[in-house]
Amino acid sequence: MTQQSLLEDSNLHADVGSDADSKAILKGLNLTINPGEVHAIMGPNGSGKSTLANVLSGRPGYTVTQGHVLLDQEALADLEPHERAQAGLFLAFQYPVEIPGVSNMEFLKASMDSLAKAHNAEQPDAAGFIRQVRTLAESLDLDPQFLKRGVNEGFSGGEKKRNEILQLLLLNPKMAILDETDSGLDIDALQTVAEGVNRFRNDGNGVLLITHYQRLLDYIVPDFVHVLADGQIIQSGDKNLALELEAKGYTWLT
């Protein structure tokens, strides 16, 4: 039996910007992620890594001009950003947004309730939910006090990234995209974040790690490593490719 892919990008072309001055960034990207797989995408600055994350999550300002993306056999193009999340896609932001006035707990509850509603599931009861979130926060070395504060408001870089991982573990999507979650982290925070991602991994879900550096891959061992350059995947391999890139840089490939 053929295994059904979780995420399938076929000949994906995408532009960033408005019609008048749009710029082609992705130029025929092919990528298939099956359940249980962790894929890492590496590449030089400007190669299109973050654009890929934004296109997949449906961020306004990005336009798919050719090709298609399937999430668990469903065409992403037909779905609004919130519907993509409801269909099981999760993006851990490179720069998590601050929302003063909305507490973390309210934000998480609104997210959980929306997903439950979309799946006609029962919304989590308030007390159980709070316990679950507090336990998760503690497991990620986040002071539970932070749950009362505005979303990411005044958080350090490391706290913001750990908050993304908390959301990943809480919302438990089918397909997680981590956009440079390792940037700006010290070693301790990197290990905590990596441990969270490893806890998330299972045979049924998929992870797409976007990163500049091999270091993260010491802690989250990928099944596949791809090199993105000028909007296309120009090389794929296993975890050893990342080590090679670390030693030689990207120029030997481009």
């Binding site: 950003p81 006035g101 609104a110 929306s114 505005g150």
Partner: protein, 368 residues
């Protein structure tokens, strides 16, 4: 152009006679009526409309917490109050003060329970005189949906502390609220002002930091529904050295609603080492929302630190996308963002009812 025709000169009440103010009240009064400042504060609301409200029958407000030790209520002051009634700053409120009975509330010691003021209609002028070193919490709410007005004069003695929560959530068609606060040395006044606009809700707030080290903190959250009109005029005067003021006002204006915010900080010549900041942020929820905002600084002293700023905008797209990326549909996300924007300025003793009252008009709005 606002109607600035002169009012009839006030006839001073008996308890006023013989005071310093009585001797030159007429001249000061005439001067106040023609001052450029007065033109400015009545630019967006016709003064005539407000003066009509002062002819309505007024009554004593309902008081709560007035039986506790330290509180005395009287019909006239037992002390010379003329320094707190500034004719030149508020000729309209002063006229009203002279025409009506007075509710004089003396707070001689720190209060353990809040003092509640409930306005059931237009209220008689109210003076709250807080003794040196006393601290208290004051709440103000409105029970009636009729046209009305209130004038309140608050004086904080040396090192006195007052926390004031005011929820103007009633759907009173035309409402004028005048508040004057005089803060003496070392005193601290904190206002949590929550308002939902009606056909016309006009709020005049005049704060005078009179003594060394006096400070004030004003937080305002307001919701202007469709066809609502809110006019907020705030004057913060730093009259003495080492005074501090901090003001944050967040307003949301629905389509076809109108809000006006005029925040003036005036640092007088002797107010060295003063620190003042003011921020007014507005979100318009439709192409036909009208928002006027003018933060203003007038400084007559080099040794000060001041900042002021105002923004008018729409909901932040990055915040909206962050919500949506977690599965929340855009309309619900916009609601939550509006709530969060107001929540930043909701606080104090009436915070809970303020949240529900302010956020209620948001529900059911198709926010774009």
């Amino acid at each position: 152009m606002a109607d600035l025709s002169p009012l009839s000169p006030p006839v001073l009440p008996d308890w006023f006679k013989g005071t310093a103010l009585a001797s030159d009240s007429s001249a000061t009064y005439q001067q106040a009526l023609t001052s450029p400042l007065r033109k400015e504060i009545w630019k967006y609301t016709p003064v005539g409309k407000i003066l009509e409200l002062s002819t309505l029958t007024a009554e004593r407000p309902t008081l709560g917490g007035d039986q506790q030790d330290g509180v005395t209520i009287a019909d006239q002051p037992d002390t010379d109050l003329t320094d707190i009634f500034s004719i030149n700053r508020a000729p309209e409120a002063f006229t009203f003060l002279c025409q009506q009975p007075l509710v004089y509330i003396s707070v001689a010691a720190s209060l353990t329970e809040p003092l509640h003021l409930i306005h059931n209609a237009s209220s008689w002028p109210i003076v709250i005189d807080v003794a040196a070193g006393a601290s208290m919490t004051l709440t103000e709410e409105f029970s009636s949906d009729l046209d009305q007005q209130q004038t309140i004069w608050l004086r904080l003695g040396r090192d006195a502390q007052v926390t004031h929560g005011r929820n103007s959530l009633s759907s009173t068609p035309n409402h004028w609220q005048f508040l004057s606060v005089q803060i003496n040395a070392g005193g601290h006044y904190s206002l949590h002002n929550h308002a939902v606009a009606s056909s016309l809700r006009r709020q005049d707030t005049q704060i005078q930091l009179c003594g060394d080290g006096a400070s004030a903190k004003l937080c305002g959250a307001a919701m202007v529904p469709q066809r609502g009109n809110l006019d907020q005029q705030v004057t913060m005067e730093h009259l003495s050295a080492n005074t501090t003021s901090q003001q944050t006002f967040h307003n949301i204006v629905a389509d076809r609603g109108k809000s006006t915010f005029n925040g003036r900080i005036h640092i007088h010549a002797g107010a060295r080492n003063s620190n003042a900041n003011l921020s007014n942020k507005n979100i318009g929820l439709g192409a036909n929302a009208t928002i006027n905002t003018k933060p203003e600084l007038e400084i007559y002293n080099d040794d000060v630190s001041c900042s002021h700023g105002a923004t008018i905008g729409q909901l932040d797209n990055d915040q909206l996308f962050y919500f949506c990326s977690r599965g929340v549909d855009p309309n619900a996300a916009r609601q939550l963002l509006c709530e969060g924007f107001l929540q930043q300025c909701i606080g104090g003793p009436l915070a809970e009812s303020a949240s529900s009252g302010l956020l209620e008009p948001l529900h059911g709005l198709d926010i774009q």
